[in-house]
């Protein structure tokens, strides 16, 4: 029965290489790695991230081993998985071989053959992957990658390891082919279990080398292979390959404690004072890990609407700034107690932080689960408390503080849009209602949106809903105030809203605005009420037969998933069912669902000075829609989207081509 021969034709002296030198190199790697990572907790703040270990383990399997997020993009996904799984298999294979050699012999017979086949196949897979990587790095040269020489060297290193492994094996096969007695139980019939090795072996056989020569070349390649592995260990901590160790850690410790749509409150120090993030010391160890785990793939940058618009923000650059700062200052900071140099305003400019729309595309894209948005909001909190806020935003925040809305209009005007609605909408502060409709600032105050809001009321009435609004008791829900970093103002607005809500008597909270939806659902205390976006409510009403459409609209439409409804809260299907129910034909945009491209208004951007933009995100999105054949209507489900996209349609000159409608307008029309 065939069995694995350990250290085949390798002289004893070289065994020491495997048992002493390589483990020492591995140890050196771990020590160097440890020295690097301990900076995280020596410099950064504490944070509890090891709860729910089983869930975390599951994440590790999903994202670090199976690498589902990496596979989110086909070419680079397959490319990386080919290399990574190759290395998992080689690692496993080496481990099994060591067990077989020194502890318990089991690699014999069919087990051995299967073992060989797997290793052989993955050698090919890995080499193909590396070929794809080389093509990507040297021919395609996508702009989002860091096209650095060091990355090329790493690729060359791993390529060398795999290649020398293959060649070594092929030489062994060539030698055994010439003298089968070298491996008892082997015959040419078994060559199919090591197909690649066998094919390469033919090249050696064609050279008609002597056995002696084969042994020497085999030894030479084996030594080269082992040396390259040693180099791999020694250089890993300072090359891009360190991501092999950092990314599983990042994935394991990623955010589990709260839903995506909920920001962490301000951290407090021992004296119960708020901590504002402006230096490395203010970041948590996990945020420093984020910096180290970044593989510089740039997917976040590609997905970022702020970056596409030409603002100073690149999520990739931002995270790498953290890493650079840690490497520059970390060691010194870990030793002493001196204050850390300022990050915000220096390595990370104010404008970079203010450009973010908090759309979450970067977080969704990141294969290693880096949490960009949390870091940005943390640093914005610092800017706000320092008063480094641009004029327009300052005005909006002052208005929000004084009048509870960003328009600077009196709160008494909030319900002015209801004047034409008959019968009068119930005041939920005075009467019990089933559905409390939290209208939101834009829907209430914006002149452009008044008709949309009125139609929503009419639809609710036609559906026979028992609903009411808070009239001038409502304040801005605070979602974007929080994302701008004005935590104190958020608390004030939330307190006011919660006081009014506590006194009202209702079952379900429904809102037309996804931003309000997000914060009411995830950041306001639960209180046992369900929170629905109006698309979910419409979906329920349609399913229950309470909304009877008299018309089939027949428009060909496309739908833009709002960031705070889709990516943040996973509501994708309800609006689509509603669209279908109105008899429209839906054509999906290339970037849809959790890949939808933000309109650019979120994160308080709609309150800020736009600055110099190359192309507004909303304009890019309209161009995407216009490229779809036959689409006449651009359907949205967020009041800010209505404003942004109607503007974009005008500024891109597409008024004849595309009309922007809110979902409720379709429903209103179909109801007849």
């Amino acid at each position: 029965m065939i069995e694995r021969i350990n250290f085949w034709q390798i002289p004893d002296i070289w065994h020491y290489f495997a048992y002493v030198v390589l483990p020492v190199c591995a140890l050196v790697m771990l020590v160097r790695f440890y020295n690097r990572i301990r900076l995280w907790w020596q410099v950064g703040r504490a944070e509890m991230r090891w709860d729910q270990p089983l869930s975390r383990l599951w994440r590790l399997i999903k994202f670090a081993i199976v690498q589902v997020k990496v596979l989110g993009q086909t070419y680079p996904g397959l490319m990386h998985v080919a290399i990574a799984w190759g290395f998992f298999v080689f690692f496993l294979g080496t481990a099994l071989a060591t067990i077989d050699a020194d502890f318990f012999k089991f690699l014999r017979g069919s087990i051995y053959l299967v073992f060989k086949l797997v290793l052989d196949s993955f050698t090919v897979v890995a080499l193909i992957g590396m070929g794809m990587a080389a093509y990507r790095r040297f021919v395609q040269e996508p702009s989002r990658l860091t096209l650095d020489k060091s990355f090329a060297l790493s690729l060359a290193l791993v390529f060398g390891i795999v290649l020398t492994g293959l060649l070594t094996e092929s030489l062994r096969l060539a030698a055994i082919a010439q003298d089968p007695a070298l491996q008892p139980g082997w015959s040419v019939a078994l060559a199919g279990w090591t197909p690649t090795g066998w094919v390469v072996a033919q090249l050696w056989l064609a050279l008609k080398l002597t056995q002696e020569a084969l042994y020497n070349v085999h030894l030479g390649l084996w030594v080269t292979h082992a040396t390259l592995v040693a180099v791999f260990f020694l250089t890993l901590p300072v090359s891009t390959l360190v991501h092999i160790l950092t990314t599983p850690l990042n994935i394991f410790f990623s955010k589990l404690d709260r839903p995506v749509g909920r920001l962490a409150p301000l951290a407090q120090n021992a004296q119960k004072e708020a901590i504002y993030v402006s230096t490395l010391r203010d970041l948590t160890w996990k945020q420093l890990l984020d910096g180290d785990a970044c593989t510089e793939c740039g997917r976040c940058q590609d997905a970022c609407p702020a970056h596409a618009a030409g603002t100073p923000l690149s999520p990739k650059r931002l995270i790498l700034s953290l890493r650079e700062a840690l490497h520059r200052d970390g060691a010194a900071l870990a030793k002493g107690n001196q204050p850390a140099p300022l990050l915000v305003g220096e390595a990370i400019e104010d404008a970079v932080l203010w450009s973010c729309t908090t759309c979450g595309a970067c977080v969704r894209e990141c294969p290693v689960l880096i949490e960009h948005v949390d870091a940005i909001v943390d640093m914005r909190r610092y800017l706000v408390v320092e008063g480094r806020v641009d004029e327009m935003l300052q005005g909006a925040l002052a208005n929000l503080g004084r009048y509870g809305n960003s328009f600077g209009q009196s709160e008494r005007m909030r319900a002015r849009w209801t004047q034409s609605i008959q019968p009068k909408i119930k005041d939920a502060r005075r009467e019990a209602v089933e559905y409390l409709w939290f209208v939101g600032d834009y829907a209430s105050y914006s002149a452009t949106l008044m008709s949309v809001t009125q139609k929503t009321a009419e639809v609710f009435q036609k559906a026979g809903l028992d609903f009411g609004i808070l009239y001038d008791g409502e304040r801005n829900a605070g979602n974007d105030v929080r994302r701008v970093g004005e935590e104190g103002l958020f608390e004030m607005l939330a307190e006011k809203n919660m006081a009014v809500l506590a006194k009202a008597n209702f079952q379900t909270l429904v809102t037309t605005d996804p931003h309000s939806y997000n914060t009411l659902k995830n950041e306001y205390p639960a209180n046992g009420h369900t929170v629905l976006h109006y698309s979910e409510l419409l979906d329920q009403l349609i399913a229950a037969g309470k909304l009877k459409f008299t018309k089939k609209l027949g428009y060909t439409v496309t739908y833009h998933d709002p960031c705070y409804l889709g990516r943040y809260n996973g509501v994708y299907d309800a609006p689509r069912r509603v669209i279908e129910a109105t008899g429209c034909k839906l054509v999906e945009m290339p970037r849809c669902r959790d890949r939808a491209f933000c309109c650019g208004a979120g994160g308080g951007r709609i309150w800020m000075d736009e600055g110099n933009v190359r192309e507004r995100p909303s304009e890019g999105r309209i161009r995407e829609a216009v490229a779809l054949d036959g689409v006449q209507v651009f359907v949205v489900a967020c009041p800010k989207d209505v404003t942004m996209y109607r503007d974009a349609v005008k500024t891109t000159g597409n008024e004849e081509r595309l009309v922007v409608k809110d979902l409720i307008e379709l429903v209103h029309e179909a109801l007849g």
């Binding site: 004029e391 327009m392 002149a447 452009t448 000075d609 736009e610 005008k650």
Partner: protein, 320 residues
């Protein structure tokens, strides 16, 4: 104590300020009720003929080197002597950087009542304009001598002009020593590209333009019409347009053929600088904005919807 009216003439660097004519018209109106004479009170150095075009009964000219430049201290000292002696029924000053520097001090120094922001008189009543022009306050002219600061808008400057120069009577000014305020230098506004006070066609933007990027809408319209863009204070304070384009109390007063006000509320400080316009057209979504009280035409259409369409139509009409 008599029924005369004093009008404290305002002038700067050899030029008579327009408010002086408005005050003169107001003074004449008040004098009709009180039955006294209207005196133009002129302070300065070598400016004795500056009041020649005012419709005053006489000019009381207080000359002193210390009065060559306006200072609150200098004017206050000189005026308190004069008012104390003469005891007129009312002293009219401008509600301006000049008048308001002096009025308060005189009120306290002489123990005389002060009414500010007066727009016009109705018989022996004053009518003041407060709260951004939204509220009028009326009351009896206080006795014995009412100190008044006047805002423009209630009287036409022409009513305060006269072709016949009034008699100039020099009045001895006491020692004006130890003045605590002195002028170091004057700083002219930067010579801008345009002098908006001479332009016949002005497109004005206010807070309603919302941000710097939208100013281009006004630029496009101005280019199409052959006019010039100007602005109210909030826009200039934010540096969306240079100070040379400021229309208002602290900027320029303009009298164009057409003044198109986009997103401007019409607060008094701005309104007073455009009342000389031939035709004001106001675009503002707030139907209650004070600008509609002085505009000839108005619309509540959103300027962002209107302006691009208008620009296009103008270009078409011009044969574009």
């Amino acid at each position: 104590m008599n029924q005369d009216i004093f009008v404290v003439v305002e002038h700067l660097r050899g030029a008579l300020a327009e408010i002086s004519y408005v005050m003169m018209a107001a003074g004449r109106d008040l004098a009709r009720t009180t039955g006294g004479k209207v005196y133009a009170v002129l302070l300065g150095q070598n400016v004795q003929n500056l009041a020649d075009t005012l419709a005053a009964d006489a000019v009381l000219y207080l000359e002193s080197p210390s009065l060559a430049d306006f200072t609150s201290d200098g004017y206050c000292k000189a005026l308190s002597g004069l008012i104390g002696q003469h005891q007129p029924r009312a002293v009219l000053m401008g509600h301006t950087s000049v008048g308001t520097d002096v009025a308060g001090a005189l009120s306290v120094r002489l123990g005389l009542p002060l009414v500010t922001s007066v727009r016009h008189f109705e018989g022996d009543k004053f009518v003041s304009q407060i709260c951004g022009g939204k509220i009028m306050a009326e009351g009896e002219l206080p006795a014995p001598t009412a100190l008044i600061t006047l805002v423009p808008g209630g009287y036409k400057p022409e009513s305060g002009q006269s072709a016949q120069a009034p008699l100039v009577t020099p009045v001895a000014v006491g020692a004006l020593e130890d003045l605590r305020v002195s002028v170091r230098q004057y700083i002219e506004p930067e010579a801008g590209d345009v002098d908006i006070s001479k332009e016949p066609l002005l497109i004005a933007v206010g807070r309603g333009i919302q941000n710097q990027d939208n100013v281009v809408l006004a630029d496009d319209l101005a280019k199409a019409l052959g006019g010039v863009v100007c602005a109210s204070r909030p826009v200039v304070d934010q540096n969306w347009l240079p100070t040379t384009r400021l229309v208002g109390k602290s900027g320029k007063a303009v009298k164009p053929k057409l003044y198109l006000a986009l997103g401007i509320s019409g607060a008094p400080e701005h309104a007073e600088a455009i009342t000389g316009s031939n035709c004001i057209i106001a675009v503002n979504t707030d139907a209650a904005a004070p600008i509609f009280n002085i505009a000839k035409y108005g619309t509540t259409t959103d300027l962002f919807d209107l302006v691009p369409v208008l620009t296009e139509k103008v270009l078409q009409a011009k044969g574009g």
